[in-house]
Structure formats: structure tokens, C-alpha cells
Symmetry: C2
Amino acid sequence: MDVQQFREFGKAAVDYIADYIETIRDRPVVPTVKPGYLGELLPKEAPQTGETWQDVLQDVDRLIMPGITHWHSPRFHAYYPTANSFPAVVGEMLSAGFGCVGLSWISSPAYTELEVVMMNWLGKLLDLPEEFLNCSDGPGGGIIQGSASEVTFIGLLAAKEKKVKDLMELNPELKEADIKGKLVAYSSDQSNSSVEKAGLLGSMPMKLLPANDKGQLTAATLQEAIREDKERGLIPCYVVACLGTTPTCAFDDLAELGPICNREGIWLHVDAAYAGTAFACPEYRHLMKGVELSDSFNFNPHKWMLVNFDCSAMWVKNAKYLVEAFNVQRIYLKDNHNGLAPEYRHWQISLGRRFRALKLWFVLKIYGVEGIQKHVRDQISLAKQFEDLVNQDSRFEVCTSSMGLVTFRMKGDNALTRALLEKLDQRKNIFLMAGHFCNKFVIRFAICSRLTNSKDVEFSWEEIHSQANEIIPLPKCRIEGEMKEKRSIATIEFTDSASEKSRCEKSK
Amino acid sequence: MDVQQFREFGKAAVDYIADYIETIRDRPVVPTVKPGYLGELLPKEAPQTGETWQDVLQDVDRLIMPGITHWHSPRFHAYYPTANSFPAVVGEMLSAGFGCVGLSWISSPAYTELEVVMMNWLGKLLDLPEEFLNCSDGPGGGIIQGSASEVTFIGLLAAKEKKVKDLMELNPELKEADIKGKLVAYSSDQSNSSVEKAGLLGSMPMKLLPANDKGQLTAATLQEAIREDKERGLIPCYVVACLGTTPTCAFDDLAELGPICNREGIWLHVDAAYAGTAFACPEYRHLMKGVELSDSFNFNPHKWMLVNFDCSAMWVKNAKYLVEAFNVQRIYLKDNHNGLAPEYRHWQISLGRRFRALKLWFVLKIYGVEGIQKHVRDQISLAKQFEDLVNQDSRFEVCTSSMGLVTFRMKGDNALTRALLEKLDQRKNIFLMAGHFCNKFVIRFAICSRLTNSKDVEFSWEEIHSQANEIIPLPKCRIEGEMKEKRSIATIEFTDSASEKSRCEKSK
């Protein structure tokens, strides 16, 4: 493929993406293909001679598109959002075009340097404590990793490094292997699966302690677990606190957990993968009170901050524990800049790194702080809109509502909610996920796509509502109310759901 | 940014990349910026309000481009190649445009399915044993990971899982922590730094055994290390053999190492990160003789196979050990396809995954098997051209030459070669790396860019040659020969270097 063909292919691909986003609302959010569909359509071996780019783009449309789940459909409400914005797509493209591997400063200075500055911008945007930033005088700093999974694992390795070192300094007669065999980590049973996996990867048992009825790990629970383990001769080493849990977006209280960890010499890692973006808005920063007590902090701009996957921001208060855990020096990797720029390869698992800072820069420049804040506030208000719609229907109950995530269920037996989700799954018009909360089966409804608007939320609720009608017909008062609503749906956004419910219940 | 602006921005970025590649030969390969340059040029915080895409693209040109090391300059000969091809760039762009996260089959069926098929195409292209392929009946299979670093570490975890399980089945009285504390891994001192790092990450000592004078780990050395460690009560668990070492592209002999590992119940992992691509050409497959004795195999299409970073291909003979090491199930990750497609998240560190199979597909379709083979053969022949040029100069010696990598030095004291490399580093016209071979300081010269042609190799050699002249003036016979060469340089490609050397030496 020569340069001219690339110009044509590249521009055709830009148009393909633009057309895709423009028509995404018209596509069923979940594909209908069956497992193994593509293997049946594709040749069994690579072609002997090359094909044209026109053929390739046609094949994308013909073979790949039918097997895509449309994460950026405004009716996609599963998991948590994964970012996709135009500035980030172009950033990703340019990064691929430069095609460097930032394995050391000299291997492409702009890679390291832009990342250093972006992690400062981002830390200031979230109002993180100064000591986490690259621009602080101390040993703290920020880096872009690939995922929260990686970060939680890396935090664990740093915690292990620190604990082993600390204990061996105090007791030189101890053996490293004996210490490592006794280390133990904690998180709540509401933490993401990747937290448990970090324990598996790092050979450190990760105890998933029961959260309270708000989905939080409490100080009392943590303290008791630590006490028990110490009595058994184990060595508490690592705590992963969640700001925005996966099931319900609950927030652990860092101001409660932090002092315990600090007192016990336990590394406190904060996983704010999704909700961290909200701290760009001052009104949500109270939810990270106590963050200065943590040792490492992570959130994913690739979730809620409009930067395409992968871009996971990690800060540590003292980077030396990362470097000591990972540093493997070689002649071809010789540093030649006198420590004036970090060698990020010593802060991460892999040697090579893509230019992820570029797309982050593009997003921050083109959206600006105000654009990011507006995005967060809009999405939270759409979730509130959905919550209100659910509350208006007396057959439903909202279980939790936090940031852009609402969990809800049909009142009564779990089987009702299960049946509802099954119907919705089969219809494929919207995409939702199951969850559990306080031993009840719930449906998670997340505002995911940046394209989602108020009409889309109404559409999704209509879809849920219509299927609920097939499970439990509407009570009479509700039908009447609904007929009125239908006439004025555009104007009703935030009715007083409590009064609606009581009205409906009284009339039963 | 609306869709129309994206069309404009995206197309301008395509042209920017095309222009960049077209002018890359004119740029000094290594930038002249000093550490910290970008921090001084950029604002200290993100902008409050958004900027236009035109501003952003201008800033890329003004601020970023001066800090880029041009990996795809034809005069970049450092490290090993990192792929950059037009089909892969467009693949990366489309993957960003779709913006899904393949965390399970249903989260985007095409993501998993294309990867399954591509790993079959790739395995067949390299003529790997059937049992490694997804399309085999057995428990083997292939997956795209992010880097060889990740793969070596994942292989180690799988090896650990298997060894612990095997030993506990035989001796139920053993404790898991006791076994883990005794596990040990081996590779040669020529292996990549990421191999040593895998040991650090996985808390398993990685013994770097001395290679022979061809850069290979021999059976005798490995066998002796195993014997000694077993006598000490340690448990040999994992061997990383290299097909194409980083310093000299040496090939360990799998047919020698494999039987030892199989007999001792040690997991044999093959790291063919760079050189694996050569197995697309039948004439190089003898170098992987014995591969059927290995448990896992890895090479990086993102090195030599024209697929942009990151795309690291990993195959295992039995995927169950990966899944058992990593499997963390959650309700929101419920499988719903009855095992007909793999859940790759259980084969890797992170939960989420990008659509890396797309760019691989684009490259294989647009280049075809013949295009890949031609690329490999062309690059090897360029390295041969360089080797011949070095051999024609009696002040130099070629130390090793394998695939696209030549190591060479100035005869005599190491200080001469050091001084030469220093001069070349300062001039920044070509980019080379230092190395060591058999206790000598050498320079590594790798054919990296897909744009490199015969004239570029001549240019690079002229640059080296001109600086060598400042260290040791040319012997008289060489100057005369050179004047003749200058007149016919376009036609001389592969002179008989041995006869040239003897001619020159005789006349001394």
C-alpha cells in the first residue's frame, strides 16, 4: 500500500466511523450473531496475495459490523461507560502513525514528557493532593497504565516490596519467602473482579470483606479482619478501597479507612476507575475526603472522561517502591538524562508503551475543563431522569442511585426481575446487566454513551416498562396516569416520585 | 466536536501521517530536545475552555514532533523494529472508532471471533504445531496479548499453577506456600530484560544462565543448573528459551532443551518476539525445530510483521492452566455462549481488551502471505548488505549476523568502538545501540524501518565509516579501494568481503 492509497483508505475509514456514529441510534444495540459465526464466514488461512483496501473495508461492513455490540449506542446501559470521543480517536490514529515505542526517554522524548505533563493536568483537574503529582518536589508521580486491573496488581507488587523491605529492616533475621507467604490483602465484596485477580496474580490472598448495606467497606469490618489475621500470624499488607464500586457505584470512606491503614503500615490503594472522573466537578470531591491518606490512586479516563480505551491514570505517593519492584537494567536501556524525566518502564509491567498521552491531551484541549465537567453533570442528570421514571412506576423500586448508575428491580420475588431482564435481553433494543444488592437480584442501568440524551432515556424506560407490562399488568391508577403522561411527556422530566408513589399506593 | 468537524480533523490527521512518512528520510532520526523540554512549553494546567482541532494539530507539529524519535526513519537501527504499516494504522483507527471493550464474548462477539480466526491464520503462517491452534480439537489455543513482557509473565503464572497442582496431587500433604517458595525459573543471560522482570513480578527467581559463545543456552548448562537446584531442594518450574535473543538474535536449540524440560516436568516457554516473523518463510523454520516440545510460544507481529504496536501473539498447548490461574467470575461477566468461543479475559492480566485483531487482519489481507515473506526476505538481505560493507573495511569486525541484526565493532580496544558510537550519537543522523558480545563492546545495527532500502544502508554505513575515519585513519589500500567504490557505488551490493579483507591485509 503506497502513501496515496493510505490517504484514500484513511479518509474512507474516517468517513466510515463518522457514518457509524451518525447511524448508531438505528442499530439494535446487541448483535444477533451466534458463537462461531465469523469462523464460518472467513477463510481458514491468510490469503496468499494481497487484497485491495476497498475489499477490506467492505469486509468490515459485511462481516465485522454484524458482530459488534454497540457500546456507544445511546441505548447501551451495561457495565460502565467506555469512552469514545472524536478527539481521542484522532489521537489514537496519530499515535499509530508515529508508531514509536516509548521504552525509555530517548526512545521518544515527547512520549514521556507529554505523559508527565498530562498526569499533572489530570491530577490538578481532580484536585488530588500535591504530593501525588509529577510536579511536586517529593518522590510521588503519575503514569498512564493500560487498565485498572494492571494498576491494582502493580499497587499490590509495590505494597509487597515496601512491606518486605520494612520488615527485613526491622528484623534482619527474617527470610523474604517467609514474609511473602504471610502477606494478606483486603477489599470489599463489592470491588471489581480485577481486585480479586490482582491477588491471584501476585500470590497474595485478597480477602473480600462484607460491605455494609450501602455497599461500603467499613472501618469496623476492616479493623476486625486485620486483628484476626494478625492473631493468626498473617501480615496485613494491602487494602483496595473503592470510590465507585462496580455493582452500585458505592463510595468507601477514605477518611475512615485511611487512618487504620496508616497506623498498621498497610498500603492503601484507591480504585476510582469509573467515578474518579466526577472529581473534575468540585461538588463531588467530598466523596474522596481522606484521599491524602492513600498510597496510590487510580481512575480510568477511558471510562468516563472521553479518552478512548486504554488510558488508566495511576498516581503514587512514592514511586521508589514501583521502581524497586520492577527495575531491570540493560545496556540497551541505559538512561542518559540524569533523572530529569522518569523512566516509566520501571513503573509498569511491560517494557514498551504506546503514546497514550496524546489522546488524553487531545481530549483535554478540545473539551477543556468545562467540557469535561458538563459531560459529567449531563450524564448524572440523565441517570436522575431515569431514576425518577422508575420511581413513578409503583411496580418498581430503585435500589441505588449514584453518579450515572441506577440499580432497580421489580418489587417482590427476584423471579420477576429476572424474567424482565430476560425479555429485554431477547429483544436487544437496549442492553442492561444483572446485579445483586443486599441479596436481591437487581438490574444495573448505566448512562454509558456520550450520545445519550433525555429522549434516549425515555426510549429505554419505555422499553423496560413495556416488557414489565407483560409480567405484571399496570395497576389501574398507573394506566390513567400514563395516558396523561403520554400527552405531555416532553415536559415531564423530574416529577416528585415519592408523592406519585404514595398517591398510587393509597388508591390501591 | 461534531461529526462534521471530526471528518475534517480525521482527514487532516491522515494527511499529516502521510506527509510525515513521505518526509521522514529528511529528519534527523534522534531529536535534539533536552529532558524537561515539553514541560517548559506547555501550560501548567488543562485549558478551561476548549480549543479548535486546528490549534491542536498545529501544537502537535510545533511541540510534539520535535520530541519524536523517528522509529520509522530508514536510518533508525536501534533496538529491534517496531512495526508501522498503513493497513495497521487504519485498523487501529477503526478499532478506536468502534470503541468497544472485549471483556466477554457478548460484549462484542466480532472482537473475540476475529481474534480466534487470526490466531489460526497466524499459527498456520508460521507452521506452528496443530495442537497450539484454536482450531485444533485439544485444549490449546492462541490469543493476542499486549507485549512479550506480559506473555512471559503469564506463561510463568501458568507454569506455577501447573506445577503446584501437579505436586499437590502427588503429595497432598504439601502446602501451596511451601511449594511456591521453592519454585525456580531459567533463561539465558542473553534473554530480554522482560524475562528477568517476569521473575520479579511472579516472585519466582529467574536464573540467567551463561550462554555459549554463539549466544545460546545449551542443554548441558540447563541440565547442570537443574541438577544443582534440585539438590538444594528447589523445584525447577519454568524455562524461557529464546528464538532470536535481544543482543545478537541467537537461537536456542529447542530440540535440545525441549526433552530436558519435558522429562523434568518444566514448562517450556519460547520467546521469539522479533524473529518469530521469519518463520513465515519456510527456509527459516529449521530454527524452531523442536517447537512441538514447548508449552507456550510467543512472537510479536508488532515487531517484524508490520502490525502496529501492540500485538503480541501467544499460543499455549493447554489453555486450562491460564484459565485456572486467572478465572474470577462475576455476575456481570456471565458467559452465555456455552463454551463455543473462548473468554479471553481468563487468558490475560486485564479484564478489558482492545480490538487488536482488526489491524492484524488488515495487514494479513492487504500484504498477503507473499507480502509478509517478501518483507522478511528484503530486510534480511539489507542486513547482509550491511554486513558485507563492514567486512570490506579492515578496521572493523562483524561479530554476529542473524536475520535483520548485525553486531560489529572496531578491531582492538573497546574504547575505539565506544568512541565511534559516541560520535554517531552526537551527530544524530543514524540511531544505533550498544551491546556486549563475548565480553566485547559491540554496536548493534538492526534493519528496522519498512522504508529502509539499499541506498539507506549505504548512507548509514557511510556515516559510520566517516566517523571511524576520525578515530583511525583509513589504511592506504582502503582509501584507494574506496575511491574506486565511490565511482560505482550504485552497482556494488555484495562484494566478496573475505577476499577484500585478505587483499588489504596482504598489502599492509
